[in-house]
C-alpha cells in the first residue's frame, strides 16, 4: 500500500486539553475519569447501584472540559447559529483547524483544494434532544444537526472540495473514517485528508443501554485486560489527524508523527448475535492490514487493542491476537488500550487509539496501560505472544511497527498498521534574518496567540530561528489581524515580541491588518551614498539579497575584470573611486531592489537619483542586466579617467537664485535640483567656488561635496562620444513598472531609455524635485529607499514634499546596519497589507516547516442546552465577559446602539446591538448566509414597508456590510 503520513494531530479528551497533555496523561498512566458534570443530566435521577431499568449503574465517566465553549467569531458564525449547532460540529471545526496548523499547513491555504473530510461518530445526542422540539425548529437548528453536517461544516468553512463524509460504524467509526481517508489518498482522489472522531455525552441513554446490556462498569472505568475488568466506562473526546501521502509529506519536509503502512476493514457478518464480537473476523482484519502493509505480525512491537475491558470482549480479542502473535516471536508484543485512561470514547475511540499510537511512535515510548498491574490471568497473555506495558517502555531504534484495532458494536472491524516516521535531518544554521509572524481573528486573539508563540521561543535554539520564522510565515500569517517582528537572533525576536505584548505602543507598532493595498514606490540612491563594505551584513543575513548580488557580480565580472563582491567586501576606501563606486552602487541597488521584487513587493513606480536610475531601469524591465552592467562599468571607467579638476557644492537656495550664476559660467551647470530650495552646482572648481562664495554671501547655506569629479557638468563632455558609441547598442525595452525619470523630471511614457538617453543622462541635470513631485502625486503609501544608506527619503522629507503619512522604509540604514533591515522592511509592508512571498526570505536549507503552537481559540462564548429537552441559551461563565464583548466597540457602534435596524440585525444573529459594527461584513464577520438574510429582510419589511417592493433576491448580493444594509433600509430607492 502507498504509505500515508500522519502529519497533524489535535485532540481533547477527558483530562487532556491538547495532544501534549494527552501524552502526559498517557505517559504517567493517569486517567480523566470524573463525575457527570451537572450541565449534562440529572445524574441522581438516572442512576441506581443495581442498574435497574431506566437507570445506569455509574455516576462517573470521562468528560471533556469546556465542551460548550466555541469561538463563533473566528468562524464568522452568529451567536444564534452557534447556539443551534451540535457542539460536536463546533468541537470538530476548531480541532480540525488546529490539527491542520499542527501539520504545518495554513488551513486557509487549503481553500479550493480537493481535501477530503472523514468524520467518525456514532451519536448525536444534541440532535436527539433538539429535533423533537418541533416548536423551536429553526433553519439553523436544522443544519446544526445531522451526522453529515459535522463533516460538511468543516468542508464549508475551510472551502474544501474533496469528499466530505460522516462515518458511523459504532465504536469503530473514527478508525473506519481513517481507513476511508487513507483509501482516498492511496487512490489519488485526495491529496490531503482530515480525519476526525467525536463523541459527546449529553444524555444518559447509552449509559443506561450499557447497564441494561450488562456491559457497564459500576466504577465508570474501562479496565482493559485487567483482573478487575468489569465492563465499559464511557468517555468523551474529539480527535483529528491530518493525513498525506508520505512521499508528498517528505517532499514538503513536513514533520511526520507516524506512517500508516496498511489498513483494512471487514464485518463479522452473521455472528453469535449482532453485538457479539467475532474472533475470526478480528483475526482476519488484522491479517489483512498486515498483508497490505507488507509485514508479518512478528514485526509489530506494539498493538493498541480495542480493549474495552469487558471480560468477554478482552478474551475474544486476546485470542484473535494470539492467532497472529502466539508463535514466531522472539519477544512478546506490547499490548495496550487507551480506554483505561479515557473510558470508551465510542465514536472517537478509534481516533484516540490512533493518536495514542502515533504519539508513541514519535516519542518512541509505549505508555503504560492503566489498571494493568494485575492482569487477567485467564487471558494467558504470554501464551498469546502478548504483554502489558506496566511502565513506559522505550521503543527500539530504527523502524518500529504497531497495530491499532477498533471494533464496532454491530460487527464492523478496522485495523491499521502504523510505522515509525522515516528519519530526516534538516540541519539549521544561524545568522539569517527572519520575520516571525502571528495572525488571528481579533486583536485580543492576536495577543493570546502571540503569547503562546513566545512561550515556545524559549526552547528554540538560535540556529533554529530561521526555520521557526519560515514556519510561522507558512502557517500563521494569513488571518486578518497580524503581528510581525524581524531579527537575526532569538534574543532580538523574543525581545520584540515580549515588548509588543507588554507595551501598547509596541503592540501597535508590531501589528497590522490584512486587506489594505499599499502603493509602494522605490527610490534608488545616487552616488555619494557609498561606503566601505556597504551592505556586508545584509549579504550575510539575507539569502535573497545574496543571491541577487551574486548574480549581478557575474554580470559585471566580464567588464570589471574582477569580482565586485570581493572588491566591495574587502572594505577599503577605494570604494570612493568612481570607477568602483558606480558599478558597486548599481550592484547593491539592483540586488536590494531585486530582492524586494523577489519577496513579492509590487512597486507602483521606480525612481532613481542619477546613477540610481540604472538599477531602477534595470529592475523595471527597461534595460537588460547585461547592458546595464556593461554601461555602468564603462561610465565609471570613463569618468575616472577625466582630470580631477571639478568640484560640486550643495546650496540651500531657490533654483531661480542659482540659475543666473550658473548660466553665466561655461564650465558650470546645475547638477541637481533636489527640491525647491535644494540645489547642487557642479563644474570647474574655481568657478564653482566663486559661485559658492557669492551665494554664501547672500545668506545661502553652501556645502562643499566630497567628490572626485564634477558629475552632471560640462566637465563630463569628453566622455560623451565614447560612451554614446557603446550605448548605441543598448536594447531599450518597455518597462513593466512605471519609471519616473530624474533626467526628465517626469514619468517616462513610451520614451525609450536608449543609448541617447543614457548619454544625455551623464551631463543632464538631476531633476529629483520634479520627479518626486510626480511620484507623490500618485499618493504612494510607502517609499522604500533602495541604496546603501538613506539619502533620498530625508531629502524628500526635508523639502516637506513627502507627507508624514507616507511611510519610509530603509532596507539598509548605513554602516551600522545589522543586516536584519530588509526583513524588517518586509515585516512592515506585511503589516500594512502586502502578502510577501515568504519562502524567498530564507535559504533553501532553512525552509523547513516546524510545528508551532496551534491556534488558541476564544473560550468566552459558551452555548449549551438548558435542561434535558429545552431551548438553547447562551451561557457566560461568571467573571468572563460575554461572547464578543471583548471586541472593541467603535464609536459608530455606540451611536447606532438604539437604531431599530441595528437591533433587528443583532437580534437575528443573537448578537447584542453594541456588538454590531457598521463596517462588519454580513457574511464573513457576522455569519449571515442567504437564509438568515432572508429572515432579516422579512423582519425589516414589517417596520419599513418601502422595502416590501424590492425582491429580496435582488437585494442580497448588493448588501455586503451592516452599513450597506442600513443605507438600503433608509433609502430603498437607491438600490431599487
Amino acid at each position: 500500500m502507498t504509505p500515508v503520513a500522519i502529519v497533524g494531530i489535535d485532540c481533547r479528551f477527558a483530562g487532556a486539553g491538547d495532544p501534549e497533555q494527552f501524552w502526559e496523561l498517557l505517559r504517567r498512566g493517569e486517567e480523566g475519569i470524573g463525575p457527570v458534570p451537572p450541565q449534562r443530566w440529572d445524574v441522581e435521577r438516572y442512576v441506581s447501584e443495581d442498574g435497574r431499568p431506566g437507570t445506569a449503574n455509574s455516576r462517573l465517566g470521562g468528560f471533556i472540559e469546556d465542551a460548550e465553549a466555541f469561538d463563533h467569531e473566528f468562524f464568522g458564525i452568529s451567536p444564534k447559529e452557534a447556539a443551534a449547532l451540535d457542539p460536536q460540529q463546533r468541537l470538530v471545526l476548531q480541532t480540525v483547524w488546529r490539527a491542520i496548523e499542527d501539520a504545518t499547513i495554513d488551513p486557509r491555504s487549503l481553500a479550493g483544494s480537493r481535501t477530503g473530510v472523514f468524520v467518525g461518530l456514532m451519536s448525536s445526542e444534541w440532535g436527539n434532544l433538539h429535533m423533537l422540539d418541533f416548536e423551536g425548529l429553526t433553519p439553523q437548528r436544522g443544519s446544526g444537526n445531522g451526522y453529515c453536517m459535522v463533516a460538511n461544516r468543516v468542508s464549508y468553512h475551510l472551502d474544501l472540495k474533496g469528499p466530505s463524509i460522516a462515518v458511523d460504524t459504532a465504536c469503530s467509526s473514527s478508525l473506519m473514517a481513517t481507513h476511508l481517508g487513507v483509501s482516498a489518498l492511496v487512490s489519488g482522489e485526495c491529496d490531503l485528508v482530515v480525519v476526525a472522531g467525536v463523541n459527546l455525552m449529553l444524555t444518559p441513554a447509552l449509559s443506561i443501554f450499557y447497564t441494561q446490556a450488562g456491559l457497564s462498569a459500576p466504577d465508570g472505568r474501562c479496565k482493559p485486560f485487567a483482573a478487575a475488568a468489569d465492563g465499559i466506562g464511557r468517555g468523551e473526546g474529539v480527535g483529528v489527524v491530518v493525513l498525506r501521502r508520505l512521499e508528498d509529506a517528505m517532499a514538503d519536509r513536513q514533520p511526520v508523527y507516524a506512517v500508516i503502512e496498511g489498513s483494512a476493514a471487514n464485518q463479522d457478518g452473521r455472528s453469535n448475535g449482532i453485538t457479539a464480537p467475532n474472533r475470526w473476523s478480528q483475526r482476519e482484519v488484522m491479517a489483512r492490514a498486515l498483508e497490505r502493509a507488507g509485514v508479518a505480525a512478528r514485526d509489530l512491537t506494539f498493538v493498541e487493542a480495542h480493549g474495552t475491558g469487558t471480560i468477554l470482549g478482552d478474551m475474544i480479542e486476546v485470542n484473535a491476537l494470539g492467532e497472529l502473535h502466539g508463535q514466531g516471536r522472539d519477544e512478546p508484543c506490547w499490548l495496550g488500550s487507551v480506554k483505561g485512561n479515557l473510558g470508551h470514547t465510542e465514536g472517537a475511540a478509534g481516533i484516540a487509539a490512533l493518536i495514542k499510537t502515533s504519539l508513541a511512535m514519535s516519542k518512541r515510548t509505549v505508555p503504560p496501560t492503566r489498571h494493568s498491574r494485575e492482569e487477567n490471568p485467564r487471558l494467558k497473555l504470554r501464551e498469546n505472544g502478548l504483554r502489558l506495558a506496566k511502565a513506559p517502555v522505550q521503543l527500539p531504534r530504527g523502524r518500529v511497527l504497531a497495530g491499532v484495532s477498533s471494533f464496532g458494536l454491530g460487527g464492523t472491524n478496522v485495523h491499521v498498521v502504523l510505522g515509525s516516521a522515516p528519519p530526516t535531518r534538516w540541519p539549521a544554521r544561524d545568522g539569517e534574518a527572519g520575520v516571525l509572524t502571528v495572525s488571528a481573528a481579533s486583536p485580543e486573539a492576536l495577543r493570546r496567540n502571540a503569547a503562546a508563540l513566545l512561550g515556545t521561543l524559549g526552547a528554540t535554539a538560535d540556529a533554529q530561528l530561521s526555520q521557526v520564522c519560515f514556519s510561522s510565515n507558512r502557517v500563521k500569517a494569513s488571518l486578518r489581524h497580524r503581528l510581525a517582528v524581524a531579527g537575526r537572533d532569538r534574543a532580538t525576536i523574543t525581545g520584540l515580541l515580549s515588548r509588543a505584548l507588554s507595551d501598547d505602543a509596541a503592540f501597535e507598532a508590531a501589528t497590522g491588518r490584512a486587506g489594505a493595498r499599499p502603493r509602494t514606490g522605490m527610490l534608488f540612491t545616487g552616488q555619494g551614498s557609498q561606503y566601505p563594505a556597504m551592505t556586508r551584513r545584509l549579504y550575510e543575513a539575507s539569502p535573497p539579497y545574496r543571491e541577487r548580488l551574486d548574480a549581478v557580480d557575474q554580470a559585471l565580472r566580464p567588464h570589471l575584470g574582477y569580482s565586485l563582491v570581493d572588491a566591495l567586501f574587502a572594505g577599503g576606501e577605494e570604494i570612493h573611486d568612481t570607477g568602483l563606486a558606480q558599478p558597486a552602487l548599481f550592484a547593491v541597488e539592483y540586488a536590494m531592489g531585486g530582492a524586494l521584487l523577489d519577496l513579492g513587493v509590487r512597486p507602483a513606480f521606480m525612481l532613481g537619483h542619477s546613477v540610481g536610475e540604472y538599477a531602477a531601469a534595470c529592475l523595471a524591465g527597461a534595460l537588460d542586466l547585461e547592458d546595464a552592467a556593461r554601461l555602468i562599468v564603462l561610465r565609471g571607467a570613463l569618468m575616472r579617467e577625466l582630470p580631477r579638476s571639478g568640484s560640486m557644492i550643495a546650496v540651500k537656495a531657490a533654483v531661480e537664485d542659482v540659475r543666473p550664476l550658473v548660466d553665466a559660467c561655461a564650465d558650470v551647470s546645475l547638477a541637481a535640483v533636489n527640491g525647491p530650495g535644494d540645489v547642487v552646482v557642479s563644474g570647474d572648481s574655481a568657478a564653482v567656488a566663486a559661485i559658492g562664495d557669492r551665494l554664501a554671501a547672500g545668506g545661502a547655506r553652501v556645502t562643499r561635496l566630497t567628490v572626485s569629479h564634477a558629475f552632471h557638468s560640462p566637465l563630463m563632455r569628453p566622455v560623451l562620444e565614447a560612451f554614446g558609441e557603446a550605448a548605441a547598442t543598448v536594447t531599450a525595452r518597455t518597462p513593466s513598472v512605471p519609471v519616473i525619470s530624474t533626467l526628465r523630471g517626469r514619468r517616462l511614457d513610451g520614451e525609450p531609455m536608449d543609448g541617447a538617453y543614457w548619454t544625455e543622462h551623464i551631463e543632464g541635470t538631476v531633476r529629483f524635485g520634479d520627479a518626486l513631485a510626480v511620484a507623490l502625486a500618485g499618493e504612494p503609501t510607502h517609499l522604500v529607499e533602495v541604496g546603501p544608506r538613506p539619502v533620498l527619503l530625508p531629502l524628500a522629507r526635508r523639502a516637506g514634499a513627502a507627507p508624514a503619512s507616507v511611510r519610509g522604509l530603509v532596507p539598509c540604514p548605513g554602516p551600522a546596519a545589522t543586516g536584519a533591515e530588509l526583513a524588517e522592511t518586509i515585516a512592515a509592508l506585511y503589516l500594512d497589507g502586502v502578502e510577501p512571498r515568504w519562502p524567498v526570505l530564507y535559504s533553501d536549507g532553512q525552509r523547513v516547516p516546524r510545528r508551532l503552537p496551534v491556534y488558541e481559540f476564544a473560550t468566552a462564548g459558551r452555548f449549551w442546552v438548558d435542561g434535558a429537552v429545552a431551548t438553547v441559551v447562551r451561557h457566560t461563565r461568571p467573571g468572563e465577559p460575554a461572547a464578543g464583548a471583548a471586541a472593541p466597540v467603535t464609536a459608530a457602534a455606540v451611536e447606532v446602539g438604539h437604531d431599530p435596524v441595528i437591533a433587528a440585525i443583532a437580534a437575528v444573529g443573537g448578537y447584542a446591538p453594541a456588538e454590531i459594527r457598521l463596517e462588519a461584513r454580513l457574511q464573513e464577520d457576522l455569519g449571515y448566509d442567504s437564509v438568515i438574510l432572508m429572515q432579516l429582510m422579512d423582519q425589516l419589511k414589517a417596520g419599513f414597508p418601502a422595502l416590501g417592493r424590492i425582491p429580496v433576491a435582488e437585494v442580497v448580493p448588493q448588501v455586503a456590510t451592516v452599513a450597506d444594509l442600513l443605507a438600503l433600509v433608509r433609502d430603498p430607492a437607491e438600490v431599487a
Binding site: 514519535s362 516519542k363 518512541r364 515510548t365 513506559p392 522505550q394 527500539p396 531504534r397 528519519p423 530526516t424 535531518r425 534538516w426 540541519p427 539549521a428 544554521r429 544561524d430 526552547a459 528554540t460 535554539a461 538560535d462 540556529a463 533554529q464
Partner: protein
C-alpha cells in the same frame, strides 16, 4: 583508542552575557588592564555573574542546554533522538542533582543514560571518548557537552585588595561558557569524523599544578585558597606535554604533519597559547583558538574551538586538537577529518 565510526554532526556554543573587556574587569577588581593584556593576553571573557549587580544571570545547566540545543539544531536532530548525554565540568551548579540531568530536562531529553565527568581542561576529551564508547546500533547518537561557570569563585563582596596575586590572577584568566557537540555513528554532510582520541592520566607522583577546592557547610579554613595554581610548573610542563601529545596523535593516526590543515592548541591564555603553538611547529596550519576572546573556559574550550572549526573545515581537511589538564597532569587530544 582508535575510533571506528564516530562523527561530530553538529556543534554549539553558549557564552553568558556581553563580553567583559579588561578595562571593565579592572573597574571591578584590583587588576591592571594593561597588565592582563600583556602578560595573560585575554582581551574579553563572559561571566555568568553580572559584574555590575553581582547577580548570577545563568547557571551551568542553562548554558549547557543552550550550547547543546544549538548543536542539535545545527545537526538537524530533535532532542528525542538523543540516546545519551555526557557532560564534563569542574564546576557543577550543585553536587546533586548532577547538572547534566538539569540540562537534559531543559532540552526536553528524557529516559536516556546521562553521565557527568568531574574534570578540568581534559574533560571535553574525556566526555568525547566516553561518548564514543557508548555509541552503538541501539544508541546511534549522543550529546557531548563541556562547560564551566566560575560564579562560585567570584566573590564580589570581599575586599579583593587583600587577595594574594596568585588568587587575583584567576579573575583575569577565567571565563564562563559551555560548548557541545552531537556525536553520531552515521556520517552527514559537513560532519567531522573523529579519527583518534588520546586521553591519559600522566601525573603519577607529580604534585598537582592546579587545585580547585570545594566547601560544604563546614566552610573553609582561614587563609585557605579556593583556587591554587602552580604557574611555574604549568609554564614549564604544558608546552612539553603538548608536543608529546601532538606527536603521539599524529603517530597513532598515521598522519604526516604536513597534511594537517588546522591546529586546535591548548587554550591556557592569550599569551601562553601562541607560545605553545610556536613550539609545536606546524607551519601552514590554521590555528583555531578562542581563549583570547572567551578566557579560560575549562571544559568548554575544545568544544568552542570545535564549533569554530566546523564553520571552516572542508571535506578531506584534517585537524588536530591538543589539550592539557595541569591539575594532575592529564594529556588529551584528538584528530578529526572533514567528511
Amino acid at each position: 583508542m582508535t575510533a571506528s565510526d564516530a562523527y561530530v554532526v553538529g556543534t554549539g556554543s553558549a557564552l553568558p552575557g556581553p563580553p567583559v573587556d579588561n578595562a571593565e574587569l579592572a573597574r571591578h577588581f584590583p587588576v591592571n588592564a594593561e597588565w592582563i593584556e600583556r602578560f595573560i593576553g585575554t582581551r574579553t571573557r563572559h561571566f555568568a555573574v553580572d559584574l555590575a549587580t553581582g547577580e548570577q544571570r545563568t547557571g551551568l545547566a542553562e548554558l549547557a542546554a543552550t550550547a547543546a540545543g544549538q548543536a542539535l539544531a545545527k545537526a538537524g536532530v530533535e532532542p528525542d533522538e538523543v540516546s545519551f548525554v555526557v557532560l564534563g565540568t569542574a564546576s557543577p551548579d550543585s553536587l546533586m542533582p548532577a547538572t547534566v540531568n538539569l540540562a537534559a530536562d531543559i532540552l526536553g531529553i528524557d529516559r536516556v543514560p546521562t553521565f557527568q565527568l568531574q574534570s578540568g581542561c581534559a574533560g571535553a576529551v574525556q566526555a568525547l571518548e566516553t561518548a564514543m564508547a557508548l555509541l552503538s546500533p541501539d544508541r546511534p547518537l549522543g550529546l557531548v557537552i563541556g562547560g564551566d561557570v566560575c560564579a562560585k569563585h567570584m566573590d564580589l563582596r570581599r575586599g579583593l585588595g587583600k587577595l594574594p596575586p596568585s588568587e587575583l590572577v584567576n579573575y583575569a584568566i577565567f571565563g564562563d561558557g559551555a560548548g557541545a557537540a552531537v556525536l553520531s555513528a552515521q556520517p552527514a554532510p559537513g560532519a567531522l569524523a573523529v579519527r583518534h582520541v588520546l586521553n591519559r592520566f600522566t601525573g603519577l607522583g607529580r604534585p598537582p599544578g592546579q587545585v580547585i577546592n570545594w566547601y560544604g557547610a563546614a566552610g573553609r579554613a582561614d587563609g585557605e585558597q579556593p583556587v591554587v595554581e602552580d604557574y611555574k610548573a604549568i609554564e614549564a610542563r604544558v608546552p612539553v606535554m603538548a608536543g608529546e601529545i601532538l606527536w603521539e596523535l599524529l603517530d597513532r593516526t598515521g598522519w604526516d604533519a604536513g597534511t594537517i590543515s588546522y591546529l586546535l592548541p591548548p587554550q591556557l591564555s592569550g599569551v601562553m597559547t601562541p607560545r605553545i603553538v610556536k613550539e609545536l611547529g606546524l607551519p601552514g596550519t590554521v590555528e583555531v583558538s578562542v581563549v583570547a576572546e572567551v578566557g579560560n573556559n575549562g571544559n568548554a574550550l575544545p568544544f568552542l574551538q570545535l564549533d569554530r572549526l566546523a564553520e571552516m573545515v572542508r571535506p578531506g581537511e584534517r585537524a588536530v586538537a591538543v589539550a592539557v589538564e595541569s591539575s594532575k597532569w592529564l594529556k588529551a587530544g584528538f584528530t578529526l577529518e572533514g567528511v
